[in-house]
Amino acid sequence: MTDTQKSTWQTKVGLAEMLKGGVIMDVTNAEQAKIAEEAGAVAVMALERVPSDIRRDGGVARMSDPQMIRDIMATVTIPVMAKARIGHFAEAQILEALGVDFVDESEVLTPADDLYHIDKHAFKVPFVCGCRDLGEALRRIGEGAAMIRTKGEAGSGNIVEAVRHMRTVMSEIRKLQGMGKEEMMTEAKNLGAPYDLVCWVAEHGKLPVPNFSAGGIATPADASLMRQLGAEAVFVGSGIFKSTDPAKRAKAIVDATTYYDKPEMLAEISVGLGDAMPGLDIRKMDESEMMANRGW
């Protein structure tokens, strides 16, 4: 037998690397998962209700039924992700036991712990976590997240929060790059982020793990915008299956994520997709309705 080391940090971040340039789609059943795979999704996120429905229904949103996740895993060959509540390490343990390929410790579900996120280093399965700024991204990476996604505002169909969070992260990275070594500890304190990771970002000009975008992407142009702002891949939640022609829109967003910087192609890709999901005006939302404010 060849001597092997399983589930190392390299294999976790490695899977995130392989998803770059792709689209990860929220699906609620095996049929939707098949549509997503056919459209060219690099992975699917299995959950019982898309964020816009969670928002509408209210109440506590929890990890999905394992049988639903199993059905989706049996239907598609692409990686399957699933969500655990922030801090709910028991849900994460169950998802790992199910054999999902990535766990999303997600603000879309109702947080289980208002002080601590999951110790993600303790798991074999890799984790993705949301962030609104560089400090939050580095805290999650410090805890063991192998992929970061800016949060945006899930289920809103409105790109403005996704843009704000990505611009904030990229701007803070650029700011670090202009600082001297002696400024790093103070900046680490200001960001509330591990010193070593702050130094790493200052030296390399990017996050130490892939940086994707989520929360509000509803059109091919939205995907293009986020890619041009620095997202290495995109998550699309409610945007696909809350639109009038999910299969066509899913394919269009996949193509737009690859040819994000070619407006002539995006013009063709964006033709005849039917109606996008209805969106929400973030300014009219109450603080308590904002999913992005969950987690710290």
Partner: protein, 221 residues
């Protein structure tokens, strides 16, 4: 007027493309640059005319296959391979190069006489690292990272297996095609990339036997 003989004496600088429709593109470009080779991302058919070698990186094989089909890249790659372009497929690339994929009718190039089993070692929690001894690559074992990796269940006569894990082929060569189930682009070790570059060099310059003994040894077999 271009004189073909002078072209051999002063060959154009080598350019290797990395198929950039989806996947770990940037890591391969960095690895090629560390080897001193000019590398470009390839998303359009016309860009394939400018490269002597192409790397198909790790990614999702169904996604990359569909995008190659939608934008005509698959036909163009097959045409360029017929003209001598070398292709190195890592993971997804190894799947897409294969003639047969177990239990799948997904898009593929079908150039390599192999049958590939996807996710052959298991799902993500079974992803692993291992040291591989590869005869054709000098020095210490190659530290290889396998992520939801495939292996070959069958290889045709023209396919040379260069490395195995538990008896399963994970690095194979057939003429101007190279395929690995692992990801050398994720480590700092550039020896597998250098091996591929030596294959490209052989296609470009007929005098390669002097400079690349390992590859000429393979040709003798």
């Amino acid at each position: 007027m271009t004189n073909p003989k002078s072209e051999i004496r002063n060959p154009k600088p080598m350019v290797v493309g990395v198929l950039a429709v989806q996947g770990a593109v940037e890591k391969h470009i960095k690895a090629l640059e560390r080897c001193g080779v000019h590398a470009i991302p390839v998303r359009f058919c016309a860009e394939l005319d400018d490269v002597q070698g192409l790397i198909i990186p790790g990614g999702e094989s169904t996604t990359v296959g569909k995008l190659m089909d939608r934008y005509g890249l698959d036909k163009k790659i097959v045409e360029r391979v017929g003209e001598g372009m070398c292709v190195y497929g890592t993971c997804t690339g190894m799947i897409l190069l294969a003639k047969n994929i177990v239990d799948s009718d997904q898009h593929r190039l079908g150039l390599m006489d192999t049958t590939i089993l996807r996710n052959a070692f298991g799902r993500q929690v079974d992803s692993f690292e291992a040291d591989l001894s590869i005869d054709e690559i000098a020095g210490p074992p190659v530290h290889a990272i396998f992520i939801r990796a495939p292996y070959a269940t069958e290889c045709g006569e023209g396919v040379l297996t260069l490395a195995e894990v538990d008896g399963h082929p994970v690095l194979m060569r057939q003429d101007n095609l190279l395929a690995s189930a692992f990801h050398p682009e994720l480590t700092d070790d550039t020896r597998v990339h250098e091996y591929f570059i030596s294959m490209v060099r052989c296609q470009v310059s007929p005098r390669c036997e002097q400079s690349v003994p390992q590859v000429s040894r393979l040709f003798d077999k």
